[in-house]
């Protein structure tokens, strides 16, 4: 096994530059070449062809926020699991117990959330 040197990353940087360059070029080219027409009606949100009524910025129920933040929480948990799963053998039993502990903490929180009824939408 060889040690990687900075030069080894050169192709990666070239690819990155090409990818970014393509995106930037396309954006600039479409702005320069593409015809454009602005009008009040065009910039309204598309509401299945009828004129939109009201404002999208209305007070949201806090339940949306709770659901969203809980989703993010458990989504991040999965992200932690990826590197752990890759190095599963290297980390050995200790790593396994650590992950078990981590999941247990989360599950305790999850249990609390369910007992509190945060995920029940229709709570009266």
């Amino acid at each position: 096994m060889s040690v990687s040197v900075p030069q080894d990353y050169l192709p990666l940087f070239i690819q990155l530059a090409l990818a970014l360059g393509f995106v930037v070029m396309t954006l600039i080219a479409t702005h320069v070449l593409g015809p454009r027409l602005r009008s009040r009606k065009k910039e309204m949100p598309f509401e299945c062809g009828v004129e939109s009524v009201g404002d999208a910025r209305m007070p949201l129920n806090v339940r949306y926020f709770l659901t969203a933040i809980l989703f993010v929480l458990f989504d991040v948990e999965v992200i932690f699991m990826y590197p752990w799963a890759v190095n599963f053998k290297g980390l050995g039993w200790l790593g396994f117990y650590e992950m078990l502990l981590f999941v247990a903490f989360l599950m305790a929180g999850f249990y609390y959330v369910i007992r509190k009824g945060v995920l029940d939408w229709e709570k009266e």
């Binding site: 299945c48 009828v50 939109s52 009524v53 009201g54 007070p59 129920n61 806090v62």
Partner: protein, 413 residues
């Protein structure tokens, strides 16, 4: 941002715990489904009031393609109204055509020969197959499976080829005449029909059913979704496959047999719960029954003329128009719409793709109907849609709509 953009809490407890203001009233979200929404097949508008993901209520607007069929029908001679019926339920136009011809024949008291009746049955059943194929496969598309649609579209094209062989058109067929058919089944048509009902369609359709019937995703999204009880179905005027899915075996073909339906052996499939999955299953079972009917009709096709000998109403054959004075006169009078119909009041119903398709015709003895009313099954049962989706999620509303098989042209007339 202003105060408007803040979070609010529903209960006092939440407001204290999260330090956000308490919401004074139920602030539901309003969502606009339609008129040009990819999930609504045809043009309907539903303004849904939502509590989170649950639909609280819906406000339905229809009439976006209202074309005033009934008004046009009052100004057209009888044979020209066939073109209007095509465009009503365009997924199964031959059924509409034949239904209209039979209504006029009832008014004129014409008996159609057996052979014509059998040809009509074949065409109507093929139309039913085409209608149900679209409905079932579009349900697949709406629940996320496109391949089923591609499978059965190929078969529908074969049905269209048979239509073309019979009348030259694919979709708006304008098939048949008052008093019979305009032409006999050609040998090519017979060959194509036999090939369809014996070889290609059963094979492909069995494969299609295999793809969906026990598909986990499809079942999860349809079983128990939008159930219709028997009482609700009756009260809302459901007919056709949607009614039969609720478990009521009402079928016009059996209840009031027309066009020799009493000669054929077939079952009426019924469902149990009337949910989306049952509607799908009933439609599929009906395709198999229709295949059975077409097989019987094509095997036992009686010999004889394919039109009634009614010079006043049935266009004379072209060769005699060129040689025979009387034929020329009749031809002219029929084409110019100068045939007076007797006074009468007729209601005739056929089993359309979506249910009881009725024609209520009042004639005052003139050349055009005095009043013609179409009983459009879609129009009547679509009003239950609002109640069916109540309490469900938006993702349920989409398969419910496609399983009801609402055809905009028929709905708005």
């Amino acid at each position: 941002m202003t105060e408007k953009n803040t979070l609010v809490a529903r209960t006092q407890e939440e407001a204290l715990a999260l330090n956000v203001p308490l919401q004074e009233e139920n602030n539901y979200t309003t969502l606009n489904l339609g008129p040009t929404h990819p999930a609504t097949h045809g043009i309907f508008q539903n303004i849904l009031t939502m509590d989170g993901e649950r639909i609280v209520s819906s406000d339905m607007t229809v009439g976006y393609i209202h074309r005033a069929f009934e008004k046009i029908a009052e100004r057209r001679p009888f044979y020209q109204i066939t073109t209007l019926t095509d465009r009503m339920n365009y997924c199964s136009s031959p059924i509409n055509n034949m239904g209209w011809h039979m209504t006029v024949e009832k008014l004129l008291e014409i008996t159609v020969p057996k052979r014509a009746q059998y040809i009509r049955v074949i065409m109507m059943e093929l139309a039913r197959i085409a209608d149900h194929l679209i409905c079932s496969s579009i349900m697949g598309v709406d629940t996320g499976a496109f391949s089923g649609f591609l499978y059965v579209m190929q078969e529908r094209e074969k049905i269209y080829e048979i239509y073309e062989e019979m009348c030259g058109a694919r979709l708006t067929t304008n098939m048949g005449r008052i008093g019979g058919m305009e032409r006999d089944l050609s040998p090519t048509a017979i060959k194509k029909i036999k090939d369809l009902v014996y070889n290609s369609l059963p094979k492909v359709f069995a494969e299609f059913e295999e793809l969906f019937d026990r598909n986990r995703i499809f079942r999860d999204r349809t079983i128990g979704v939008g159930p219709v009880s028997q009482e609700m179905a009756m009260s809302y005027g459901f007919t056709g496959p949607n009614l039969r899915a609720a478990g009521i075996d009402y079928d016009v073909r059996v209840m009031e047999p027309y066009s020799s339906y009493e000669d054929f052996e077939f079952d009426i499939p019924v469902g149990h719960n009337g949910d989306t999955y049952d509607r799908y299953k009933v439609r599929n079972a009906e395709v198999w029954e229709s295949i059975k009917i077409v097989r019987q009709a094509i095997e036992n096709l009686p010999e004889g003329p394919y039109y009634a000998n009614e010079n006043h109403y049935y266009l004379p054959p072209k060769h005699s128009v060129y040689r025979n004075m009387e034929a020329l006169i009749y031809h002219f009078k029929i084409v110019m719409g100068e045939i007076d119909a007797p006074v009468g009041e007729v209601y005739h119903a056929v089993e359309g793709g979506n249910g009881e398709l009725g024609f209520y015709l009042i004639s005052d003895g003139g050349r055009t109907p005095y009043r013609l009313h179409f009983r459009r099954p879609c129009f009547i049962y679509y009003q239950a849609f609002g109640e069916l989706i109540k309490g469900g999620t938006v993702s349920d509303a989409v398969p419910i709509m496609s399983s009801l098989n609402v055809i905009a042209g028929e709905l708005d007339a």
